[in-house]
Symmetry: none
Subunit: 200 residues, 2 copies
DNA sequence: GCAAAATGTTCTCCTTTTGTTCTCATCGAG
DNA sequence: CTCGATGAGAACAAAAGGAGAACATTTTGC
C-alpha cells in the first residue's frame, strides 16, 4: 500500500462502496478525511490505482471501482477476460470476470522453487520455471511432490504408492525411467500446488 | 543477528509487519524501544540489512521489508527457497531469497486468459492454463502473442516477422503447421508475459 | 434541450514528516 | 585505556501531504 494517507482513502472508499453500492465522490472522501482539496484526493486515488488497489473510470462521477471485493482489498487480482482458442475473438466469461491470484498465492505454508532440469517436461514444467510448493509430509497418489531421497537428493516427481508400501517416483519425461524406493528412503517435503513462469 | 538491541528492533519490525501488513516508521520503532533518535533506529536497521535480515527501500516511508521466511504470510510474497533438481537437497539461492509476486502480477495493463487447446504445448502452455497478457499492439520477433486474424479469430502463437512484411504465426506443436498472413490481416492484441497453473 | 452547478483532472506552491547522515557523548568489557 | 555498542541530537534531502486555482467534462435542475 502506498502511504498512510492513501490507505485511509482506500479504507473509506471501500467501506463506502460496500455500504452504498456505489463509490463516493472526491468531495465526500475529502470531507471524511478533513481535506479541503479534491486534487489531493485525486492524487491519492491515482497512487492506489498505480498499485492495483482500484480502478478509476476517467472523468466519471463516482468512477472509482474497487478491484475485487472478495480479497479483502489485497492486490493480486487481474481481470479474466475469457478463453482463447482457435475461433472467434476473445470472449468474456460471464460470471467469472476476475481471478483472484492472492487466494492462490497468499500462503499459509508455501514457498517457491525454481526448477532445474527437464524431468517434468511432459507435465509442462520446464527448466527455469517456478513451482509453488505447499509444505507437508503427506501426499496423495498422483500428486507432484518434492521428495527427499536418502536425505541427500531432492527431486520433483509424481508420486505413486504401491501396494507393497513402496513408492514409485515418476518423471514426466519419456527418456527417464520411474524409480521405485522403499518407503523409508523417501521423505515428502511438499506438494506442488501451482506453477508460474515469467516470459521476461 | 548483529546485537541484542538489533534483535529487539527486528522483533518489533516483524511483529508490526505481520500484524499490519506494512512496516513501522522509524519513529514508531523508536518509541516502542524507548529511543529518542530516529538516527539510532536507522543504524540498527542498516546493520540488520547488512546481515540480510531485511531490506530497506531507500527514502521511503515504511520502507522496511522483511526477507525470507519472515515475509511469508504477506500477500504477494513467497520465500524462494532454491533450486530443485536431480541431486542433493534444496539449496538456498544466495541473494535471491525472496520473490515478489505482486510486482509481476499486479499491473495496469494486464489480464488473464484461460488457454483452450494444445497449440502451444511444446512451450509448456497446456490446455486450461492461465496466461498473463500485457495489452499492446506491437510485439517483437519471437514473442508469444494474442493475435486476432481477420478480426474474427483469436489465437495464441509465437510471432515471426518476415522480410516481406508478412507475419508467420507458429504454434508450438509439431502436429500443427505455421501459418503465414499478410500483415494487414493480423492484429496483435497483447503479449504473453507470464503463465501460471493451479494444481487443485 | 440548455445553462448552471458539480465533478474530476491537472498544476504549482507550500508545510510537515520521514529517512538519512553526521558528530559527539556515555558506558561496559577486555 | 581502547574498542565496540548504544544513544542524543542537529542538519539535510526527499517524500508525503495539503491548499487552491484553473480547466474540461459530466451531471443536474429547470
Amino acid at each position: 500500500m502506498p502511504t498512510d494517507r492513501s490507505r485511509e482513502v482506500y479504507d473509506f472508499v471501500r467501506a463506502y462502496t460496500l455500504r452504498h453500492g456505489y463509490a463516493p465522490k472526491l468531495r465526500e472522501i475529502a470531507v471524511h478525511l478533513g481535506i479541503r482539496s479534491r486534487g489531493v484526493v485525486h492524487r491519492h486515488l491515482r497512487a492506489l490505482e498505480d498499485e492495483g488497489w482500484l480502478r478509476i473510470e476517467p472523468e466519471r462521477a463516482r468512477g472509482v471501482r474497487l478491484r475485487g471485493h472478495a480479497a479483502a482489498g489485497r492486490p493480486g487480482q487481474l481481470p479474466l477476460l475469457g478463453r482463447i482458442a482457435a475461433g472467434r475473438p476473445i470472449e468474456a466469461i460471464p460470471g467469472e470476470d476476475e481471478i483472484d491470484l492472492s487466494e492462490f498465492f497468499v500462503n499459509h505454508n508455501r514457498f517457491v522453487l525454481r526448477v532445474a532440469g527437464n524431468s517434468m517436461i511432459e507435465d509442462g514444467i520446464l527448466d527455469g520455471d517456478m513451482v509453488v510448493i505447499e509444505k507437508r509430509e503427506m501426499a496423495e497418489n498422483g500428486e507432484i511432490v518434492v521428495a527427499l531421497i536418502d536425505g541427500i537428493e531432492a527431486t520433483l516427481k509424481r508420486l505413486q504408492r504401491n501396494r507393497d508400501g513402496s513408492l514409485t517416483l515418476r518423471p514426466a519425461n519419456s527418456n527417464m525411467p520411474p524409480l521405485r524406493y522403499a518407503a523409508a528412503r523417501v521423505r515428502i517435503q511438499g506438494v506442488v500446488v501451482g506453477q508460474f513462469r515469467s516470459y521476461r
